[in-house]
């Protein structure tokens, strides 16, 4: 089922949680709402679910305005951040809850409910835990039970609030893969909220990046990572080196140093932010070189596939901190020593007008 939200605004007192947000969630996709805490992503999820009322705007489920539909009738499945399993009920009773709450006429018989619950518990591979209480489960198991419970009422959409937030790193990785697989089996339109970029990039079909109640960019993981639309997205996804500079004839002036750039759509004299990913900076060791930013090597971390070089800016870039990623061979070739003065030359630089908020 498709979901659209249009012009949703929501304030809490003086705090603007959402400011005229409009989005389109195509049917069958797994979408991540990604952003720092307080960006409005959870509020948006709760508004879609009907747990929260928007101040203005509408939620359209499958072309129908559902803004005034009560959460009970929206047929959404919601997985809460801390799972909200009913502590006093067994796993079986938790999953059966939604079916047992149906009005008498629509309520399935006990045997139908039992079949359905076991089928769902098998789906989440936890049928053997049916008689346990939530307190007796691990975090990852609770998570999957919460999901089974949400699926029991055959929701038209599945909404997950920080589904992996409360789990430790190893379990989180496992469950991510598992959720992706489950989605590929069920193909139910799903939205999950996360503040973890890696999680969003790895699991989602599409990512919605949010900040301060605004949507910054919508796109596939590749799109948002490789072509960030705003300085915020650039800074939020992956590590990045940032300079302030002025566009000049010879390139970009950063202090008294000049670096080349490829963007021709800026007038001379424009004040800009410039972004370069760690692998987009080259280190020039030749002391005679004049191009590039002056920097001093602080530390070389060479483990794993690539090596990381940490540098402090020198000269006009003093006080800045840089991070450069190189292959092991390059590091060996350069033979960098801590304290060595070098120059940094960006191979690719993304510029944003300075007036842009960021």
């Amino acid at each position: 089922m498709s979901i659209q939200v249009s012009n949703i605004s929501k304030r809490f007192g003086n705090f603007v949680a959402l400011d005229k947000v409009s989005l389109d969630f195509p049917s069958g996709e797994l979408v991540a709402l990604l952003g720092p805490s307080g960006c409005g992503k959870t509020t948006l999820l709760r508004i879609i679910a009907g747990l929260e009322q928007a101040d203005s705007g509408s939620v359209i489920l499958e072309g129908e305005d559902a803004s005034s539909t009560h959460v009970r009738e929206r047929q959404v499945g919601f997985v809460f951040q801390h799972y909200a399993l009913f502590k006093h009920m067994t796993v079986f009773e938790n999953v059966a809850f939604g079916l047992r709450m149906k009005p008498r006429g629509q309520r399935p018989s006990d045997s139908v409910i039992a079949d359905k619950v076991h089928q769902l518990l098998n789906l989440v591979q936890l049928d053997w835990l049916a008689d346990r209480f939530p307190a007796q489960l691990s975090g990852g198991q609770r998570q999957r039970i919460a999901l089974a419970r949400a699926l029991a009422v055959e929701p038209r959409v599945l909404l997950l609030d920080e589904p992996f937030g409360a789990l430790d790193a190893k379990v989180r990785k496992e469950l991510r893969r598992w959720l992706r697989k489950l989605h590929d089996e069920l193909h139910i339109t799903s939205i999950f909220v996360t503040h973890d970029q890696e999680e969003a990039l790895e699991v989602a079909d599409r990512i919605v990046l949010m900040d301060h109640g605004h949507v910054e960019q919508v796109g596939t993981p590749e799109q948002v990572y490789n072509q960030p639309a705003t300085p915020f997205v650039y800074g939020f996804l992956g590590s990045v080196n940032l300079f302030h500079g002025r566009v000049d004839e010879g390139g970009l002036k950063v202090g008294d140093a000049t670096v080349p750039h490829q963007q021709s759509n800026f007038a001379n004299g424009a004040e800009v932010f410039a972004f370069a990913r760690p692998h987009e900076l080259d280190i020039v060791t030749d002391p005679a070189a004049t191009k590039g930013l002056g920097a001093k090597v602080v530390r070389v971390l060479s483990f794993g596939v690539s090596s990381k070089v940490e540098l402090d800016g020198s000269g006009s870039a003093t006080g800045q901190h840089f991070e450069v990623e190189l292959s092991q061979q390059e590091v060996q070739k350069l033979a960098l020593q801590p304290g060595q003065l070098v120059r940094l030359l960006p191979s690719r630089l993304k510029l944003f007008e300075r007036t842009h908020a960021g």
Binding site: N7, G50, Q53, D55, S56, S58, I60, D65, S67, S68
Partner: protein, 285 residues
């Protein structure tokens, strides 16, 4: 595609049902049972001019009773602060036989009807009682039917307030704090004064204030042991009853207003202390 509609922002901002029902019920019940009767006292005093009111509440017998009620209550709350802290400390930090029973019985003053406590204390501390025989016979200190008797009853009634506000804070106190202090070279006493006590202070003050507020209004456990000698051991609540028995409603009401104003000031103070304590220890009370 439908047109965006504006949804009126709901006051309660919750999908859970029952806001109007519980709000209405709570307000009506609160007003009928609590607010209206309290208002009645204040409205009744409006019969008096301010000068008359002052004259009524500053009669010598009353002034003597204020001194006794507030003085003994302050003293009792102070005693409770000291011994309550010791008892809370012992209950949290040490193991000793019968600890569970002691822990449960700390609440006895809450659970025991005040009249029962009153006659029991009066008997214990009278000349022939177990404790009275010792204090009066051996030490020559008369307790029952003197202001000291009032103090004893108020200490009894106030003890659980201090112990029960301190206990959870002491239990939540992280050992790491004291370990850190010890590793930095602090003595046990320095650690207590500079590390433990500051954490306990808000709760200790809250317990003190609760015990004090309760003691000032206490009636049942006091009147039996106080002896109620005019100008000597008459507590303020007793004077309200005396006025009522003489059908002096205005007099009774004027005294009640003095005590109610005091109670509300204490209530606000205690609320302030509790939120201070909650902020300092990061727990909700």
């Amino acid at each position: 595609m439908s047109l965006p509609v504006s949804i009126p922002s709901s006051r309660a901002r919750s999908v859970l049902p029952g806001f109007n029902l519980t709000l209405g019920y709570t307000l009506v019940y609160l007003s009928l049972i609590v607010l209206l009767p309290v208002a009645a006292v204040f409205l009744r005093t409006a019969d008096l001019s301010f000068a008359e009111f002052l004259a009524v509440i500053s009669k010598p017998a009353l002034v003597a009773s204020y001194k006794l009620s507030f003085g003994a209550s302050l003293l009792a709350a102070s005693i409770n602060a000291v011994f309550g802290l010791l008892l809370a400390w012992a209950l949290v930090r040490y193991s000793f036989p019968g600890k569970k029973i002691v822990d449960a019985l700390v609440d006895l003053p809450f659970a025991l009807p005040t009249a029962v406590a009153g006659i029991s204390l009066a008997t214990l501390y009278s000349k022939n009682g177990w404790l009275g025989a010792f204090f009066e016979g051996v030490l020559g200190i008369k307790i029952a039917f003197t202001p000291l008797g009032v103090l004893v009853a108020l200490v009894f009634i106030g003890l659980p307030f201090v112990v029960r506000t301190l206990q959870p804070i002491l239990e939540d106190l992280e050992t790491e704090l004291e370990e850190a202090a010890a590793s930095l070279g602090a003595s046990r006493w320095q650690t207590f004064v500079h590390v433990v006590l500051p954490v306990l202070t808000p709760a200790l003050l809250t317990g003190f204030a609760l015990a004090f507020a309760r003691a000032v209004g206490e009636y049942g456990s006091v009147i039996f042991i106080a002896g109620n000698i005019p100008l000597v051991s008459e507590i303020t609540p007793l004077l309200i009853i005396t006025r009522l028995e003489q059908y002096d409603y205005t007099g009774a009401t004027a005294i009640a207003v003095v005590m109610l104003v005091f109670s509300f000031v204490m209530l606000l103070l205690i609320n302030g202390l509790q939120s201070w304590s909650a902020r300092r220890t990061g727990r909700t009370l």
